[in-house]
Assembly symmetry: C2
Homo-oligomer: 78 residues x 2
């Protein structure tokens, strides 16, 4: 079932991850290493290609120095 | 790897789901039906026993009439 709202949410999270990651001067590889996940996973999340688990979002957020909530709040990007 | 922050986040989401669900007068069964997920999944999320995917959180939020963001914002419960 296609779900436009979910795709928009995924897209916003992807942009948020990329925005904060680049503001930290981190490569996808460096973020993946810090978050202890596969690099391709970072790339897929930034391109809104996968449905991440909350734990993966939490690990990414932690590696970026923010809370998981921040990743879902595009209007509160740092 | 135990992760206290993640467990706290899961716990807060579980409380949030239960709070909004009961404020809507919905049983776990009714919410599960509306969200098109298994009832045991609702119970496990409310008890912080599983690591949900973002899509499942989105479907629950939609069935509750809120956005997925609201489920992560305990200070903004409706």
């Amino acid at each position: 079932v296609p779900d436009k709202e979910f795709q928009r949410l995924l897209g916003e999270i992807g942009v948020q991850v990329r925005t904060i990651r680049t503001s930290r001067g981190l490569s996808q590889e460096a973020l993946a290493f810090d978050a202890d996940i596969d690099r391709t996973y970072v790339s897929q999340i930034e391109r809104a290609r996968i449905n991440p688990s909350l734990f993966v979002l939490h690990k990414i957020a932690k590696a970026l120095g923010v809370s998981a909530r921040v990743l879902l709040q595009v209007d509160r990007a740092e």
